[in-house]
């Protein structure tokens, strides 16, 4: 959890010469070697985090080199949830690996209903998947390396548990949800969204980059069905207050009561199973949880 309190251009400038000479090529090379060996094996071995580390911050306003579907209907979910491919339509194109027409992706028997936005290394995702076996869960992560790690992790877990349905319902995409959430999900498609230990963006100037804001909450309200729940957890009290005040201010959400919150099994998992949650535990930090229910749109 590297968090910027001050910008530190000078420090990085000092570090630069050494990193240019020795650092990245070596690291990149090792990473490449590791990944090709992984691919050849295709084993049940879990990926090693050290080969997937990436700077903890990504600029949500930059274009990156993202791939995202033109619309939810263009999204090909089949590669993420192969166990859920609907058997009925177009059984002919099964044999060829090349997707002939990307405009007609294979249908799944069910839709993604739970999104973990900013899933990081996927701790919550893999703990939640066995708990919600009938639901498709999607982790969404903006950092390419980290998203790839989660994909490998899910693959390995599926191999480890072959013969069972375990982890077939978990998937991960690399995505900038602040820009492209509606490209992945239709209106009212989701029943749960998790926002776990988001980047706190301490500086006031960076608050616009926070994952919760009055304007972004409208997009969460769009993809979450009435009755659905947005889960938030953070170890930064200031950010917790920010998230609570912004969801409270949004007319499409209401705060879930303390009792109901503590009765939710997802809350316990969110507290203990996320990578950040464990880290905060180790450092004896506090965790602030808040849940918000999507309420029905008023008539107009």
């Amino acid at each position: 959890m590297s968090r910027f309190l001050f910008s530190k251009p000078r420090v990085t400038a000092l570090l630069c010469p050494s990193t240019i000479m020795a650092g990245p090529p070596n690291k990149r090379q090792k990473r490449e070697e590791y990944k090709t060996s992984q691919r050849e094996d295709g084993t049940a071995e879990l990926p090693k985090k050290k080969f997937y580390r990436q700077r903890a911050h990504a600029n949500p306003f930059s274009d990156h080199q993202l791939t995202y579907p033109i619309s939810p209907d263009h999204m090909d979910w089949a590669e993420y949830y192969p166990a859920f491919i609907s058997p009925e339509p177009n059984p002919v194109s099964e044999s060829t690996a090349v997707p002939a027409a990307p405009s007609t992706p294979k249908k799944l028997t069910r839709q993604v209903e739970v999104a973990d936005i900013g899933c990081g290394f996927g701790g919550l995702l893999v703990s939640l998947a066995p708990e919600l076996p009938d639901t498709l869960l999607l982790g969404m992560e903006i950092r390419a390396q980290v998203a790839e790690y989660v994909q490998e992790r899910v693959k390995a877990l599926r191999v480890q548990n072959s013969g069972t349905e375990l982890y077939q319902n978990a998937g991960c995409v690399r995505a900038n949800t602040m820009k492209f959430l509606p490209n992945f999900f239709n209106k009212s498609q989701l029943s749960k969204i998790f926002l776990c230990f988001p980047d706190p963006h301490f500086k006031a100037r960076k608050h616009k980059a926070r994952i919760v804001s009055t304007t972004l909450n409208s997009e969460y309200a769009y993809v979450v069905r009435p009755g659905g729940i947005v889960y938030t957890i953070t170890d930064v009290e200031d950010l917790h207050n920010w998230m609570v005040s912004h969801f409270d201010a949004h007319l499409s959400f209401e705060r879930v009561s303390e009792e109901e919150q503590e009765a939710d099994k997802c809350v316990a998992i969110m507290r203990t199973e996320t990578e950040e949650g464990k880290k905060v535990e180790r450092n004896k930090g506090k965790k602030f949880v808040a849940l918000f229910r999507r309420i029905e749109n008023p008539p107009w």
Partner: protein
């Protein structure tokens, strides 16, 4: 030497008046007599030595709204200030920009080319025709004008000037002519009352800061604590931060009445208001291919639908009045899209690129122009009009010297029916049942947004051309008087003019932009 006529970057019709923005001037023509009736010039704001002093000057001249002078300084976010401190003088700024030429920050370069007045970048008129609203670029201001007649002589009288937190890109006025909807570069949509009221709103700043007398309250209390930061370096930074003095409370926004309606995490390009089956809607388009349909005020926080299908930026939205159930959109794609917007369904696509290529060909220009990706087109205006019982849609492209007329068929498809060749690139146009008035670029070469045109041919080019409908076909119409006056365009302003007239292509995402820092 240079006797180039300054072109009009933006046209709007207001009753029988044509409102035409020409650099930092707004000229008004009578559409019937086709003659110039009045002209308004944006007051000079001197090159940026210090932005704040320049702005104070503007408001001093402008005094109808003195209450605004105060917030302006505080409106400027810290980011901006830092940029300015990099280079004290405009000349230096220019140099800096050239040195680290990332080809990115065109605006900064534009601001340093010795411009003396903010240019008008958008116009809107109220449906009752009483008011004209203009956005001036460099000072990020929304200015409201009244069409006033003194001794039967028309005059645009500025009623107010309000500086927005970010530069507005799109404007719309509610049907009741009471509220301005402004969409900005940062993705936010604000509503503000048309008529600026002096009575200050209960300001956030005036909410009494809890009067604490404790000594330690002068110290900064960081949002982080030792439980939330772990690395040695960040711990150290935190310790330093705790010793710092508390920063002065920053006022977070302008102090006139305004309301945040909705926002995209993207640059907004257009905003349109629509009423259908008695319900109000706000349509917003952004650089990341989205068209969003939100409920109108006061439920603008509810998103009803997205129209997703563009593969490049969306730049213009158009809703035909005769068919309120459909939406036509265009942008950086090769096609125009027609939507059943209520359900987010794509109804039809109309090829545009082919028609533009024909124009290229006729001008002897290779359509590919040497570039690998081939011809790139960007829609800069879409207008609908009903003529003789037929729905016609007129489309203009950035840096293309032609207008294209389509017929909207009963099946909601667009059929190309006419192409009008012009003497220069189309900048803006208005359409009414009589015909079309189009602003033609007098300065730049055909198909170019930067190259200056040949002097000999430039002299004959009129900045305004007119066409009239004859059996649903457009034929050349009579010329405007008063538009041909020579407003000299100094050579050093050409760069700035290019940026003012041709901004859309910059919206396109470039390969390698924002690459991963991996």
């Amino acid at each position: 030497m240079s006797k180039l006529t300054m072109p009009y970057q933006c046209l709007k019709q207001c009753g029988n008046l044509l409102i035409a923005a020409r650099g930092s001037t707004i000229e008004t023509f009578n559409l019937e007599s086709r003659s110039l009736v009045s002209s308004w010039k944006c007051p000079s704001s001197k090159p940026l030595v210090s932005e704040t002093s320049a702005q104070e000057e503007v408001t001093a001249v402008e005094s109808p709204a003195p209450a605004e002078a105060a917030p302006e300084e505080s409106v400027i976010p810290p980011v901006k200030r830092r940029k300015l401190s990099l280079s004290e003088t405009p000349a230096e700024e220019n140099k800096n920009w050239k040195h680290n030429n990332k080809g990115k920050n065109h605006r900064q370069a534009a601001a340093s080319t010795g411009l003396d007045s903010p240019a008008v970048i958008a116009l809107a008129v109220t449906s009752n025709g009483h008011h004209v609203i203009a956005v001036t670029s460099e000072d990020k201001s929304i200015r409201v004008f009244e069409n006033s007649y003194i001794n039967l002589k028309h005059e645009l009288k500025q009623l107010s000037q309000r500086t927005m937190p970010k530069r507005p890109c799109g404007l719309a006025i509610t049907d009741d002519s009471s509220t301005i909807i402004s969409a900005d570069k940062f993705g936010d949509v604000f509503s503000l009352p048309l008529v600026f009221q002096e009575t200050p709103i209960p300001s956030k700043n005036e909410t009494p800061v809890p009067a604490t007398t404790e000594a330690d309250s002068v110290l900064f209390t960081p949002a982080a604590n030792h439980l939330t930061v772990h690395s040695v370096r960040n711990r150290k930074a935190l310790e330093n931060q705790k010793r710092q003095a508390k920063p002065k409370p920053d006022s977070s926004g302008p102090e006139f009445e305004h309301k945040l309606l909705l926002g995209h995490v993207s640059m907004l390009t257009d905003v349109a208001l629509h009423t259908y089956n008695g319900r109000h809607y706000i349509f917003t388009a952004d650089r990341d291919e989205h068209i969003r349909i939100s409920r109108g005020i006061p439920q603008a926080h509810i998103i009803e639908q997205f129209c997703l299908g563009h593969t490049d930026f969306v730049s213009r939205l158009c809703i035909p009045s005769t068919r309120p159930e459909i939406l036509i959109s265009g942008g950086g794609d090769d096609e125009l899209l027609v939507w059943d917007w209520e359900n987010g369904n794509l109804l039809s696509r109309a090829d545009l690129k082919g028609h533009v290529e024909v124009v290229c060909h006729e001008h002897g220009k290779a359509a590919t122009d040497g570039s690998v990706d081939g011809l790139k087109i960007a829609v800069n205006q879409i207008e609908w009009i009903m003529v003789g019982g037929e729905d016609l849609v007129v489309v203009g492209y950035e840096a293309v010297p032609a207008l294209f007329v389509f017929q909207l068929t009963a099946a909601n498809t667009l059929q190309h029916i006419q192409r009008i060749q012009l003497a220069g690139n189309v900048l803006s146009f208005i359409v009414n049942s009589e015909g079309v008035v189009v602003s033609v670029d007098t300065v730049h070469a055909l198909f170019s947004s930067s190259e200056q045109r040949n002097m000999a041919e430039a002299v004959d080019v009129q900045p305004l051309s007119t066409f009239v409908f004859e059996d649903q076909r457009l034929v050349p119409g009579p010329a405007f008087e008063g538009a041909e006056q020579r407003h000299e365009v100094p050579a050093e302003e050409l760069g700035r003019l290019g940026a003012l007239l041709y901004g859309l292509e910059n919206l396109r995402k470039r390969e390698g932009d924002g690459r991963d820092e991996d």
